[in-house]
């Protein structure tokens, strides 16, 4: 090392030493910087990061409650839950959704509809929530997925409780159905209720009892605090709060009556409502035709829905609640009660020449009996359904009095039944006509109101409830489909108390007895219009027939040639109660295009009452007799 001699070794060494000291200071400073950073993270901001860490670690998973079951009055199951396999996805845990869906489609069947529905729901719900992709997986599909699950992080096989209606169309219009919670359901709900009770819930009552008793049926969800790893895998459950199941419901409905009513309507569309007059309990509520509610639960496809919606028979319309029919002559017992209340002498007669004239006007209001009934008192007028008597009565009372009296039987008023969206029907008044029609009231309109024609529209439910009021001397209860609520855990049953809806203007028991007797004669008396149904009856009954000339519910329905002729047929109506001495059941029947109440509707009421009042043995004998009669006829 020859050049070493010219180096200033001492200076080099000093410079190096200086540089090293500078370096040491820089190193020390940077170490302190790191330490300061750690103090900041671990001491000053510790709480913040602890919270974040806990939130990372712990996920709160709602456990939806089991929905309450629905039984009929005899314990027949109408709505149940059963377990189905569903395939669900937590979007936050999926890296490539398209890839995942493609992979899954090799393992389970995925329709375009499934994927469309999934994508729609994915856009509406937070990404950490489990979203349904496929439901009702077959055992084979479930097994196939389980084996391959590790390939699909974020996808999960779950056993969900699925609603099912074993009797399907028979109870669809009463029980209704649940469906997936929609945006509208959410916006209709108190946000707090939604947050606390519907997180994790898939379904909500959409129609019928399922909707009106939603709060009781739904239950309260539980929560599970689970520790999850970064991939969302559940590692262990930290705490569980069990869900409180929804309460069970026992209905007043008797499916046997429901069945009989539906059968007895035969080929007619229509409605049957049976009410226990003592409580307002709804024993049967038939609307025919009906539909199977089960496909609606997970969203019915567009095509089958369109078929139901556009069918000329309108199966989706609940005729018992929303079918608005002219009551025809079934209004007459109520007219009689109104007349008696307004001081009509029960023995005074009106002569029926077969028509009625308003003053000197030319127009003749015809009685159904062209030859005329002759002298009619109020009782016979009911029994023989004399139109002229009631034309005269209506004219005499005037529309204002009629409106007051008749609305007190619930016509034009809601019955406040415990089912959603009933129609209030219509009982016209001067005011109504001025407001809605922008016209004055004509006296002729009062006249035809006397026989239940003109503007008057009633629902079968209103008719049944008004009939129950006749039994009960004018006292009307709110019709109740639900009989009792049962706590599924304790088994405790809480019966719902009957609630008085209103009292009729006429409060005199004697008048009611009088009209009940007149209605008894309709079935059992001479000249009665429904005598045919009394044949072979094991009990006495009372009733009133009616015929409505107007096309009711089917208005606006599509025409087809076959239906066209039938379209012009009258509706047959019948109201009745039995047994006469101590009525247990009041029934209203509308048989669309049933032509006449006596033939089309009355036998239906008889069948329903038989089913309710007779012992099983008696019923069997009845069936046998009917079968024999049919054989003889052949």
């Amino acid at each position: 090392m020859s050049h070493e001699s010219i180096r200033d070794v001492a200076r080099e060494s000093r410079v190096f030493r200086n540089r090293l000291i500078v370096s040491s200071f820089i190193v020390a400073f940077l170490f302190l910087l790191l330490l300061a950073r750690l103090v900041y993270l671990q001491v000053l901001d510790h709480r913040h990061f602890s919270t974040l860490s806990e939130r990372n670690r712990i996920t709160v998973v709602p456990i939806p409650p089991a929905r309450g079951l629905i039984y009929d009055r005899n314990g027949v199951l109408l709505a149940q839950n059963f377990s189905v396999f569903t395939l669900e996805i937590v979007p936050d845990q999926v890296e490539d959704m398209d890839e995942l869906l493609r992979g899954l489609s090799y393992i389970v069947e995925l329709s375009d509809y499934d994927i469309k529905r999934f994508n729609k729901r994915r856009s509406q719900r937070p990404g950490f929530e489990s979203i349904l992709l496929r439901t009702h997986l077959s055992d084979e599909e479930a097994a196939r997925f389980s084996v391959n699950q590790h390939r699909f992080p974020g996808a999960e096989l779950k056993a969900r409780l699925q609603r099912h209606y074993p009797l399907g169309r028979l109870t669809a219009h009463v029980v209704g159905y649940v469906g997936r919670i929609s945006d509208r359901d959410i916006s209709n709900m108190d946000p707090q209720v939604y947050q606390s009770r519907y997180r994790g819930s898939e379904y909500i009552g959409k129609t019928g009892v399922e909707r009106s008793y939603e709060e009781i049926l739904h239950g309260v969800p539980g929560y599970e605090q689970v520790e999850t790893n970064a991939h969302g895998r559940k590692l262990r459950v930290i705490r569980t709060l069990k869900p409180t199941p929804g309460k069970n419901l026992y209905l007043n409905i008797d499916v046997r009556l429901q069945q009989k009513g539906e059968e007895a309507l035969g080929e007619f569309n229509g409605a049957v409502v049976a009410i226990d007059p003592a409580t307002g309990g709804v024993l049967a509520l038939v609307s025919k035709p009906s539909y199977d509610p089960n496909p609606f639960i997970n969203g019915i496809g567009f095509k089958p829905y369109a078929a139901l919606r556009d069918s000329p028979d309108r199966p989706l319309v609940n005729r018992a609640l929303n079918g608005r029919y002219p009551p025809g002559s079934t209004i007459k017992p109520f007219m009689a009660l109104a007349g008696l209340d307004e001081g009509v002498n029960r023995y005074a007669t009106t002569y029926c020449p077969g028509y009625f004239r308003l003053g000197n006007a030319r127009h003749k209001y015809r009685c159904w009996k062209k030859s005329g009934h002759g002298a009619m008192n109020v009782s016979r007028a009911v029994t023989e359904s004399c139109d002229v008597y009631f034309y005269t009565l209506a004219h005499k009372l005037g529309i204002d009095t009629l409106h007051r009296e008749m609305t007190s039987f619930g016509f034009g008023q809601k019955t406040e039944i415990d089912l959603p969206s009933e129609s209030s029907g219509l009982y016209p008044s001067r005011e109504w006509k001025r407001k809605v029609r922008k016209q004055v009231w004509y006296p002729g309109e009062t006249v035809i109101a006397g026989i239940g024609q003109g503007f008057i529209l009633v629902t079968p439910l209103q008719l049944a409830n008004a009939t129950a009021a006749i039994v009960h001397n004018g006292l009307q209860y709110k019709p109740r489909v639900v009989f009792a609520i049962q706590d599924p855990i304790t088994g405790e049953v809480e019966k719902l108390k009957p609630e008085v809806l209103r009292k009729a203007e006429n409060t005199r028991a004697k008048d009611y007895e009088f009209v009940r007797n007149a209605m008894h004669n309709v079935v059992h008396g001479r000249g009665g219009t429904a005598r045919r149904i009394a044949v072979g009856a094991k009990y006495e009954m009372a009733g009133k027939t009616g015929t409505a000339q107007v096309v009711g519910v089917a208005q606006g329905a599509r025409y087809n040639e076959k239906a066209l002729a039938k379209k012009y047929w009258d509706h047959g109506l019948f109201i009745s109660f039995a047994p006469f001495a101590d009525p247990k059941i009041a029934v209203a029947v509308v048989a669309e295009h049933g032509r006449h109440g006596g033939s089309g509707a009355a036998p239906v009421a008889r069948a329903v009452m038989d089913a309710y009042l007779l012992t099983p043995e008696q019923l069997q004998a009845e069936e046998a007799a009917k079968a024999e009669k049919q054989e003889n006829a052949q």
Partner: protein, 360 residues
């Protein structure tokens, strides 16, 4: 006066390194999911690394200085070979497969570049002449550029830094240093232009990790949560929820400090920092007591580079530096970088052991 110790080892440094290795195994047991085979593999690598350290300690610094140009030259050639293989194989390539193990030329250059710089500068009086400086800059720049092309920006920075530290220690005038600083600042936008998108994103993420919480910000956020939630005392060994539940990515390699901070808290992390400063301090002491300029420059550079690794890693994990793939020295799982580091410590020991032999 012969201060020679057994096998030329420096025991204060040796003990600290053994202690550090123990710490590494302890935290790896937790970070690796309490998997003993992970420990076994890392333990084997440690033993190998210690053997290499001891072997390096046997090489006298003069010999090392003599070989330096050859080692450096071979390293550059291998870097070119690796790049060529990568071009042919149409993919990023960083290693050469030697059958028994994979050999990364860039790793060799972590030692090769500071050795070359020290060799270059120590041959002429210090501070270096501008001509020397330019030659030195080229000697540092060429391998760094080759590594950038691999592309491995992180390693390139580390390699270049080791060389730059030599320049700094060589006594380069402050004004030249300041001038270079200005040039570097002016070149930053140009460098930015040539950076890969993911690299840009990492830098941007540093300033606002929450902007992309599921993408590039995820690492930083989760690591910060881990460290912060550890608090003063930590959640306890194998009890860190962030670590054990997979929230920390790369938790047994680059992000192992987050596991450490979460489970052992501020106290544990401070102890770790203390141990590091002890090792670095010892290295600097060895550098200051070295007696020839090659040894001094190399020892100083190796010690500061070691600190640089520590700072870059912990700075990255605690969210004050961008995410670059630098493992926590001596603690992270993995063999390559540990072998290089331990070889460096072997060189330090050799220098220390022979410091008086030359001067007297």
């Amino acid at each position: 006066m012969n201060r020679k110790t057994l096998l030329h080892l420096d025991y204060p440094l040796m003990y600290a390194l053994v202690l550090m290795s123990m710490l590494s195994l302890v935290i790896l047991y937790s970070a690796g999911g309490e998997n003993l085979s992970v420990l076994l593999r890392q333990g084997t690598r440690m033993l190998a690394a210690f053997v290499i350290m001891i072997a390096m300690a046997q090489i006298p610094p003069e010999a090392l200085a003599r070989w330096t140009p050859w080692i450096y030259g071979a390293g550059v050639i291998l870097l070119i070979v690796v790049l060529a293989i990568g071009v042919i194989g149409k993919g990023a390539q960083r290693w050469i497969n030697l059958g028994l193990f994979r050999f990364q030329p860039a790793e060799v250059m972590k030692l090769g570049v500071p050795m070359m710089a020290a060799w270059l500068f120590s041959r002429k009086p210090l501070p270096p002449s501008p001509m020397r400086l330019i030659i030195g800059a080229i000697a540092i720049g060429v391998p760094a550029a080759l590594i950038v092309l691999q592309p491995d920006l992180g390693t390139a920075i580390l390699v270049a830094a080791a060389g730059v530290f030599v320049i700094f220690l060589s006594g380069i005038q402050w004004r030249i240093l300041a001038g270079l600083g200005v040039v570097a600042a002016a070149l930053a936008p140009v460098a930015w232009h040539f950076m890969h998108d993911y690299q840009k994103r990492r830098v941007l993420t540093l300033f606002n990790p929450e902007a992309d919480p599921l993408g590039s910000g995820y690492h930083i956020i989760q690591a910060k949560i881990a460290i912060g939630s550890g608090g003063i005392y930590g959640k306890g060994w194998t009890n860190g929820s962030q670590s054990q539940l997979d929230f920390i990515p790369e938790r047994h390699t680059d992000f192992i400090f987050a596991v450490f901070g979460e489970e052992f808290g501020l106290i544990g992390a401070s102890i770790l920092l203390l141990l590091y400063s002890y090792i670095i301090g010892r290295g600097l002491y060895i550098a200051i007591s070295a007696t020839d300029s090659y040894s001094r420059l190399l020892a100083g550079s190796l010690s500061i580079t070691f600190f640089f690794y520590v700072f870059v890693n912990i700075g990255m994990v605690s969210g004050i530096l961008p995410v670059v793939g630098v493992p926590l020295p001596l603690v992270s799982y993995g063999g390559t970088s540990m072998v290089t580091l331990m070889a460096g410590f072997g060189i330090l020991m050799s220098i220390h052991s022979r410091r008086r032999l030359i001067s007297s």
